[in-house]
């Protein structure tokens, strides 16, 4: 599981501050950063992929409107998470749909994302695309040079910080930074054509 580093909340806080000062690009960055997690979260309630994206969008819009009142008492993502759940529930209520009421504790936000049965987007098209993307990424990782593969795996699978990876691999932080980036670029080369 990917751990949340202390810097994460700080960077988010800074972005939130910029949004509060009217910088919409900062909000775009927050959206891009969390869009996948929020869509996945909403998808627990709203099974239709396209509806889930609409509800996720609505959640982000609500968050933007409420950002003026966000005081940073909790982490931005925890706050956003609450908004997303409420938006999804309201959506289902408004659509008079029957849904199982998951009792998700807000504190468990990170754990919830990693439950394996989260794949609500189970349309044949989605499944096919999903399999293809996952496969391309796995093949690309296998083809990476050993030191790049180790760096990206320690980061993504173990959730280690650059500092921790540098200690584990006995190399400078700058090298870790570069290896992770180059690993991503190599994967992106294979992934890009698939998404275009």
């Amino acid at each position: 599981m990917k751990e949340q580093k202390g810097n994460n909340a700080e960077l988010d806080k800074e972005l939130v501050l910029k949004v509060q000062q009217g910088d919409k690009a900062a909000f775009d960055l927050l959206v891009i950063k969390y869009q996948h997690r929020i869509i996945q979260l909403v998808n627990r309630y709203v099974k239709d992929p396209s509806e889930a994206q609409d509800v996720a969008q609505e959640a982000f819009i609500k968050a933007y409107r409420a950002l003026g009142n966000f005081r940073g008492d909790s982490a931005f993502y925890t706050w956003l998470y609450r908004i997303a759940i409420n938006t999804a529930k309201n959506y289902l209520v408004s659509r008079s749909r029957r849904f199982s009421d998951y009792q998700i504790d807000v504190q468990d936000a990170e754990q919830v994302e990693n439950v394996p049965q989260l794949k609500g987007m189970d349309t044949p098209e989605f499944l096919l695309m999903n399999d293809e993307i996952v496969n391309v990424i796995k093949v690309a990782i296998e083809k990476l040079p050993e030191e790049m593969k180790t760096a990206i795996m320690l980061r993504e699978f173990e959730g280690l910080s650059y500092e921790e990876i540098s200690q584990a691999m006995e190399c400078p932080v700058g090298t870790v930074r570069s290896r992770i980036f180059r690993a991503r670029e190599a994967i992106d080369e294979k992934l890009g054509p698939l998404l275009d």
Binding site: E10, H36, N114, S161
Partner: protein, 179 residues
Amino acid sequence: MTTEINQKISQFLDDELDHACLDELLLKIKQQPELKDKIRRYQMMTQAMTLDSAVIANVDFVTNIGQQLDKEPHHLLPIRTVKKAQNRFWQKTSLAVAATVACIAVILSQSEPLQQTLPSPQLAKADTQVIEVPVQLASTKPTQHERLKAYLQAHNDDLYTHGSLNMQPLVRVASYGQE
């Protein structure tokens, strides 16, 4: 240059970006919106690697949100700023009221001795007959006092009722009319 900014994106997603570089990244994203796609793909990689499932967000997910927000402009006013603005308003109002009251008090205090020293028309005609007119002064003085008292008390109450922070009334009526 592109490599450098892409590396910053990678660091940003790993929460390893320096705060100083955040501004630069934001600026670059404004200048090159296609960088958003890069971030999206990097995010998708993370998702696919850790969960064996790739959530495919619409390419225009972020754009749609931006467009909807543009359609319904919403002004963000952080609470703290509003409170400060309100406080400033009340401070200015209180100061203006206090200054006005002070001026009135000064004018009234100066006009009273004038009335006392002015000779009545009867006295002007007959210099030899010097008659004091305490009865007349006694009849007007309480009226002025009453008005001033009411005014100052209203001012005093207003300041305390509206609770201007860290503000004390310039004229506080603790016990008026007592010798």
